[in-house]
């Protein structure tokens, strides 16, 4: 680790032999102990640059330590900066990746809601995916979807974690002003569940749910559409037979405990958290309704993407990179550890581990195993967008007639993402090949109107 020691620390050795005591040169240490690299890549690079400069100024290590002990690190740093542009060197080093254009904006703010759907956006911070692409991103925890929307519209956030229907709704001006918004990457697929209060343990048939009070995170959410779809398939009218209210995810468990709700179709960790605290049980994973359904998304305004093309590309690359990392089962435990602290999700680590690894307690006394309980796949299939639009139309959120395919391709940037994935050495899927089957019923994206008309319970 000597390479990452603070070179301005008088007690640190920067000698030819490694400070870890191993029989190798300091410069080789990183290669030999690759797994031990610290999280903040920018900080790491800074250290590397500082060490190189200090070693050049003081070839004899004892002199450097003596000098630092006498004047202190801050003075030394200032003295060296006055003759050598340390900051510039750090920056040049950090951006030195092949083919990287100059970033228009390096300090970015990305908003997120503390749920596991946002895993790639969150983990990219502690695990250094943003720094790797030369960005200094601050991930900001936000209280609810409406606030995320407003802070994004007011440009306080450069990019944000949104529910995948939100960019569609914002672009169409449904529930907000119409502002062109884009969704270059999906965060997660699956990973939601219907949680019921423990007192309903024997009411597992949705036909018994008349009068239940349910919560979903937001009106424009997959959760809302999936819950409506689910109860409607069982013959209940979601607007008349049950009540559905929009409650911010963190408040769902508290409301379930207070008997203010009978259940919710919500994002994790709050399904697993209800089990952890003995308040509710997991009735159904949404994966069992539609395996591979999209949920949350990484969204940016069209304006940001066109004004800062290089920053936008670097940001998107970081997200695709992080999503690919999160997709791998073997990384999930490490991710759970990275995102559990107060700064990010603020949850017990075991809860996150159960969600991400898919070996979980179901709240009824059993341990279930489903490795694909949540999965991460960035590709923004246009077929997803068309399905979402049909549901917006079905439940009367979307009043006007729209060109489904055009809105889908304007907002869900499948082509951009495919190009970016190719550039990064990943294989993008064929954008035309996606079959969607929800609860056994196939969906043909070429015939959205026929699809809506095929449902018995609808508002349009």
């Amino acid at each position: 680790m000597s390479m990452f020691k603070d070179p301005f620390d008088p007690k640190a050795f920067l000698g030819r032999r490694c400070g870890c005591g191993g029989n190798h040169a300091a410069a080789d240490h990183a290669r030999l102990t690759a797994e031990a690299t610290p999280a903040g890549e920018e900080a790491r690079w800074n250290r590397v640059v500082d060490a190189a400069v200090l070693q050049a100024v003081f070839p004899v290590d004892a002199q450097r330590r003596q000098f630092l002990k006498t004047v202190g690190a801050a003075t030394a740093m200032a003295a060296i900066s006055s003759v050598f542009p340390l900051a510039t060197a750090r920056e040049a080093f950090a951006q030195g990746g092949p083919g990287a254009g100059a970033l228009e904006k390096k300090d970015l703010k990305v908003g997120f809601i503390p749920i596991t759907c946002a895993t790639p956006i969150i983990m990219a911070h502690p695990m250094g995916f943003y720094a790797k692409h030369g960005l200094n991103v601050e991930v900001v925890k936000t209280a609810g979807w409406a606030v995320v929307r407003d802070k994004s519209l007011s440009k306080e956030y450069d990019a944000a974690h949104m529910l995948s229907p939100m960019p569609l709704a914002i672009s169409l001006g449904v529930g907000s002003n119409a502002v062109p918004w884009t969704m270059p990457a999906i965060e997660n697929i699956n990973g939601q569940a219907i949680t019921l209060a423990n007192k309903h343990k024997d009411k597992r048939n949705p036909k018994d749910w008349k009068g239940f009070r349910f919560a979903v995170p937001f009106d424009y959410s997959m959760h809302n559409y999936l819950l409506r779809y689910y109860v409607a398939e069982h013959g209940l009218d979601p607007d008349k037979d049950i009540s559905i209210r929009s409650v911010p995810p963190p408040e769902m468990v508290a409301n379930l405990r207070a008997d203010n709700l009978d259940g919710y179709l919500g994002p994790d960790p709050f399904n697993q958290r209800a089990v952890y605290d003995g308040i509710g049980f997991i009735h159904l994973l949404t994966k069992e309704m539609w395996d591979g359904h999209p949920c949350c998304a990484f969204a940016v305004s069209k304006e940001f993407a066109s004004q800062n093309p290089n920053s936008y590309r670097a940001l998107l690359k970081s997200i695709i990179d992080a999503t690919a990392f999160a997709h791998k089962q073997e990384n999930r435990k490490e991710i759970a550890k990275a995102i559990a602290p107060q700064n990010y999700l603020n949850q017990p680590e075991t809860v996150l581990e159960q969600i991400l690894t898919g070996t979980y307690a179901d709240g009824l006394g059993g341990v279930k195993k489903d490795p694909n309980r949540i999965d991460f796949d960035p590709f923004p299939w246009n077929q997803f967008a068309i399905w979402i639009l049909t549901q917006m139309k079905r439940w009367g959120q979307l009043k006007a007639d729209v060109d489904y395919a055009k809105v889908a391709s304007d907002v869900f940037l499948a082509t951009d993402t495919a190009a970016m994935m190719k550039e990064m050495g990943l294989t993008p899927p064929d954008p035309s090949k996606k079959t969607i089957v929800v609860m056994g019923k196939p969906f043909d994206p070429a015939k959205p109107t026929e699809y809506i008309n095929s449902f018995a319970i609808k508002r349009s």
Partner: protein, 284 residues
């Protein structure tokens, strides 16, 4: 007489202490984990859930001892920064206080001159009265969406919300105080041919000062109430955000800590203004 007064203070203090001990003891007994709960679950399952859920019950409220530990924990390290979303409770309080003082100062800057004007002119008083009466009872949370939408900046929005909620008591009290200055004093000033500005500063302001200070005291209390709600909604920093963040984690011990701290800081703010008020009071 003094002895009686002392003993009254002493007895009140003892009673307070007894009430406190009573509350804590009841709480401790009520929240003690029920011993010998016999629902046995699969050990593999028990590892995955909280201790209470493993025995078939729900996680209980923390005991006073748990809360004591949490408070001690926060007192030991109030100023840490572990990332932009995780800062020590001292830092969160400082953010909240900063917002409150800024919003309150702005409100005072507007309310005192405007209140003066309203108090001096019955016409303006009548004209503005309906607006004040309608806007005064609006809750801070109701202002927030409008503020976020129009101001487009969450930091300024929360300050605006404090401003708009704390401006009314000061405005009304200033107007009331100014309107209530004794006629004789104004008449004396007029007979002595004192100019209008001099009358305002030398006669009306000192006469109305105690009422204005009372308005300010009410306002600072309201501002402190509002900040917690505003920060819970907007997030980012502040004691309200801290409460919300710990609500995410269903960490009641941390929330109780925050409640106690909010109470203590509110008390301090109130006491400071009460002291200031004694400086401007005068015997009739």
């Amino acid at each position: 007489m003094a002895a009686l007064k002392n003993s009254l203070g002493l007895r009140a203090g003892l009673l307070s202490l007894a009430i406190f001990c009573g509350i804590v003891a009841t709480w401790q007994i009520a929240t003690m984990p029920a011993g010998g709960s016999s629902v046995v679950v699969d050990p593999e399952y028990a590892k995955l859930v909280g201790a209470a859920a493993a025995t078939g019950s729900t996680t209980a409220l923390p005991t006073p001892a748990d809360i004591g530990v949490t408070i001690w924990h926060h007192i030991l390290d109030p100023f840490y920064i572990r990332g932009s979303n995780d800062k020590g409770i001292g830092i969160q309080l400082a953010y909240s206080l900063g917002r409150v003082l800024l919003g309150f100062a702005l409100a005072a800057l507007v309310a005192v001159p405007l209140g003066f004007l309203i108090g001096m002119s019955p016409l303006v008083y009548r004209a503005l009265d309906p607006f004040i009466q309608v806007l005064k009872p609006v809750s801070p949370l109701a202002w927030m969406p409008l503020a976020l939408y129009t101001i487009k900046d969450s930091a300024i929005s929360s300050i605006f919300v404090i401003f708009i909620c704390s401006v009314w008591p000061m405005l009304i009290n200033t107007a009331f105080g100014v309107a209530g200055v004794r006629r004789e004093w104004l008449n004396v000033a007029r007979t002595l041919e004192v100019g209008p500005f001099r009358t305002a500063f030398k006669v009306i302001l000192p006469a109305a000062a105690p009422t204005i200070m009372t308005g300010m005291r009410i306002s600072v209390g309201i501002a402190w109430l509002v900040i917690v709600a505003a920060e819970m909604l907007v997030g980012g920093t502040g004691i309200g955000y801290f409460v919300w963040n710990e609500w995410n984690n269903l960490s009641i011990a941390n929330i109780v800590t925050a409640i106690l701290l909010i109470g203590v800081v509110g008390l301090l703010l109130d006491q400071i203004l009460a002291r200031l008020a004694t400086l401007v009071t005068y015997p009739e």
